[in-house]
Each structure stands twice: as C-alpha cells, then as structure tokens.
Symmetry: C2
C-alpha cells in the first residue's frame, strides 16, 4: 500500500464490485456512460507485475463488470485499455484497466477503436 | 478454427512469438513502430470467452512481447487495448489484443492515453 496513492486509499463506499485481489470503480472523468476502472488491491504500476492469481482475479472481475454494465446501460460493445508509463498517458502509477462501454452512434466512424488514440491527438 | 478467419489461417512464418495457447504478430497497419497483436490460438471473439488457461497464456506472452519490443525498439511506454464489438472498432471477430509501444514525443500531449480515442474521433 502506498500512502499517497489515490487507489490505495479509495473510499470503500464508492467501490462497485470487488473480489479478494481486485476492485472496480467508476472513472472520475468518464469518456462514455458507465466508464469503469478495474484495479488490483495491491499497489504496483503495470500489468507485467501482476501475479497469476491477480491476473485471474482481474479477469474474473472484468466479466462481472461486463454483466453489471450490460444490465445497467445495455451498451453495444466495449473498449478495454491500459496506459503503461507517463508517455502512454498513465497518471496514477497503480495499475488500472479502463472498461469503456460503447454505444451505437457514439462516434461517427468507430472503425479502428483504440487504434485511433494517436492519429487524433496529433491534430491538437 | 474458422475457415474464413485471417487469424485462424495466419502464415506461421509471420508469427513472432508463440506459446501453446496464444501467438503474437506485427499489426498490418501499425500505429507506432513495433505495434503488435496478441491472439489466442482458438477462435473466439472476445476476452470474456477465454478460459483461465488462455488468459494466463496471453498474459505470459504479453511479458515476452514486452521484452522483445523493449530489446528491439526501446520504447518509453505501452498502450494495451482491445476493441470488443463492431461499434467499438472491432473488425476481425477473433480476439486480438493490441500492444502499442510509445515513444517520448510521439504525440504532443500524451495525457489520457487510450482515453482520448473518442473525443478526437468526434472531431472528424
């Protein structure tokens, strides 16, 4: 546990789903309705540092989050994504996996999905 | 195995790394140098359908791909992403996980990472 880490000190009343090794919360700055984060209970920065048990716990929670979001918002698809390192956009150095529900018509041309993150940023 | 699936019929000479349940190839339309795809050997569309063994094989291969790319291109970070469903940008319905190396300066403002995929597409 890291003293100054927002995820290590996350208020339990805001946790939506949880198992022994991972928990799920809503993203504070959602890209789409129902944007959630999956987070290991243990503090470590990247997915490469997860134990097999943590990988399976995160995977199991991913399915639960999918079911939860499907029941609540009925999305038409999902993007799952991880930013690893500051140059990749990571701002909190406790692993978190974005689960972003997608809805028919939420972008004009969905082809490419997460593949588009770069081409478009460059246009700023 | 699906007869018409490009990943089920992928030429073995183009496979970069492989284990019993998963393999890694270069993306045909790379977003950055070293953009690779991790793919289960078995044909299924989404990560929710993977067995525990497949999840661990994909995770193990992710580490190998990281080491391979680190040695070859020395990136400063990575984005990992999955598009699930047509509205999320999925075009081949055999699960594939994007591993995109990131390099200092490859975009003007990296903050947000995969979170930016939507905001920017909307500007088209």
């Amino acid at each position: 546990m890291a003293k100054d880490c927002v995820f290590c000190n996350y208020p339990s009343r805001k946790i939506i789903l949880e198992n022994k090794l991972a928990f799920a919360i809503y993203d504070r700055y959602p890209v789409n309705q129902g944007h959630m984060l999956l987070i290991p209970q243990r503090h470590f920065p990247d997915v490469f540092s997860a134990t097999d048990e943590e990988v399976l716990a995160l995977n199991s929670l991913t399915r639960e989050v999918r079911d939860y979001l499907q029941g609540k918002y009925n999305p038409d698809g999902f993007n799952i994504g991880i930013n690893l390192g500051k140059v990749a956009g990571q701002t909190i150095f406790h692993l978190h996996i974005h689960i972003i529900p997608r809805y028919l018509g939420d972008v004009k041309n969905p082809r490419g999905g997460i593949r588009n993150f770069k081409e478009n940023i460059v246009r700023y």
